[in-house]
């Protein structure tokens, strides 16, 4: 959450584009990451992320602070956009196809190490999980959102999120085990 976020949102609601620009700068990387890990291709993730923020900007008057942060509202829009994306387009490319040079910092040397291979394995395993398991893992462990924020974003109770998180981790470990065995 940005300092003075409520004021920024209020200014954005009044139509100040600079205020929304600040919100965009802060949340765009997070939303993009969430989307790219869900859809697996950077081009599609860019399109979806663009539409998420465009929709957010056009409908910012409808945003009401109901006790959860602005980020949850954005994740909710992103989540729905990804669902729409899957609904309208059946052809998917595996997350294995993500080129680390495109999605990561160009100067990220770690991407070329063994850890990068592990990362690719995790991303690939993640892509095979159920949608809701993917969402919870990305939001909780990559984006480090709180249980409350995730619950608000996916419109479930906090108890349901804790349960989903437990099952998602268990499932991810299982899938990773299968993939590691397959690689050997």
């Amino acid at each position: 959450m940005i300092d003075g976020e409520e004021k920024l949102i209020a200014r954005a609601i009044r139509g100040e584009s600079s205020a929304f620009g600040t919100l965009y700068d802060h949340y765009q990387p997070k939303i993009y990451r969430f989307v790219v890990l869900r859809v697996g291709r950077s081009e599609e993730a860019e399109d979806i992320t663009h539409h998420v923020f465009l929709n957010a900007w056009l409908h910012i008057r409808t945003y009401e602070n109901l006790g959860f942060p602005f980020s949850s509202w954005l994740y909710r829009i992103a989540r729905n956009s990804v669902i729409d994306h899957y609904r309208t387009k059946r052809e998917h490319v595996s997350i294995d196809a993500i080129d680390p040079d495109v999605v990561a910092h160009p100067d990220d040397l770690e991407a070329r190490t063994d850890r990068a291979i592990e990362g690719a394995l995790v991303r690939a395993a993640l892509a095979t999980l159920k949608e809701e398991h993917q969402e919870v893992i990305i939001m909780r462990f990559v984006e480090e959102l709180s249980i409350k924020e995730v619950a608000a974003a996916v419109e479930k109770t906090e108890g349901a999120i804790k349960l989903l998180q437990h099952r998602a981790i268990k499932e991810l470990k299982k899938k990773l085990g299968e993939r590691t065995k397959a690689k050997k």
Partner: protein, 151 residues
Amino acid sequence: MDFHSIFKQLQKIEADPGYVRRSRAIILAQGETSLLRVGLTRIFKEVLQSGSVLALASVVLVVVLGGVSAWRVLKPGLAALDPAGLTAEAQAIDIQLELAGVDYTELVSPESTLADPASVVKKVLRKEGEAPAPSSTEAVSVDEALRLLAE
């Protein structure tokens, strides 16, 4: 496998900076136009709404005022068509006049009683002591009072 470090590594995923710049500029530009359009549409709707309210209020005002005026104009005409009503009204007017007369004779000041023939008679008779003052103000006319004064 250390999940924590892998997830940390995933946090380094970023979009192409060129895309971010373009997307940001397009979103803010489109948003401004659309918000302006939304703002104008909203203003137009509000103006229409308040205009409708004013028009409705004007119609109600005209109907109410017109109704009252029409009632005032039509009321005598309607009453004239009813003979029984007319009679009752006439009787009511007579009673009111009589009562007004009574009030007048009772409330007039002593100084102004000279104008009243009955008072004059009273005074004259009281002075002469010949006859008691009349018990009713209705019995003496102006002519009689003058005749009495002349005697």
